[in-house]
């Protein structure tokens, strides 16, 4: 179980013409400032594609959602494609309540997001 004190970004790896940002743990206010800063750092000079891998994200709240919305807006301004992959049922539920699933490119897993 995650305690909330781990780094939310587990790793960043290069793939094809983009990067995969692997997140882990709970995506909430306890990590949102650090994560926002790291996302904005990536988006200063972004690759063509950014894939957010949510495989190991246990849960997310509106603080996490806010960062993704901000990252999406910034990526569009920079002509970068932001994709979300492998969200569990809890995380998907937050998108559904906020009614913003249609804003994002969402994939079942990282492999399908690479095609």
């Amino acid at each position: 179980m995650f305690t909330g004190r781990e780094k939310v970004i587990k790793g960043v790896r290069t793939v094809n013409d983009g990067v995969v940002v692997e997140l882990q743990g709970s995506f909430d206010m306890s990590c949102s400032k650090d994560l926002r800063q790291q996302m904005m750092d990536i988006l200063v000079d972004p690759p063509k594609t950014i894939i957010i891998d949510l495989t190991e994200v246990e849960c997310m709240d509106s603080s996490g959602l806010a960062i993704l919305i901000e990252a999406l807006k910034m990526s569009k301004r920079k002509m970068c494609t932001l994709k979300l992959a492998a969200m569990n049922k809890r995380v998907k539920g937050v998108f559904e309540i906020a009614r913003i699933e249609s804003l994002f490119d969402i994939y079942d897993n990282v492999e399908s997001s690479l095609r």
Partner: protein, 141 residues
Amino acid sequence: MERATERKIQLELPACPCELANLRAATAKAALAAGFCQDKVDNITLAVTEAFTNIIRHGYKEKCQDEKVILTLEKLSEPDGIKITMRDFGNQVEPCQICGRDLDDIRPGGLGVHIMRSLMDLVEFKKADSVGMILTMIKYC
């Protein structure tokens, strides 16, 4: 600090984001004990997470050193459910001014109250007598 009876548990938590994991664990345990399925437990836990985050952000303006939130989790019967009360000692606001933003206005932030109202059967804000707010949320099984 924790006080508990068979039906009710009360926790005094520092108003700090690092307490969110503890808050979720306590809420999930109480919701399971009240008879909710895992999906509903997740929803109740998310609503409480949003409420706690709002208290830190708006009640205490993120200056929460030495500030606290008193969380009460109470099992209800006939009808079965859970009653959650969160008492803070931060800024007061008129309850009628607490509302979620228009979902068509796509921007970061402002979704917490909308999520709470979507997931719970009752969400009620009240000004406390002297300082702070009292939030009551109820979910029925």
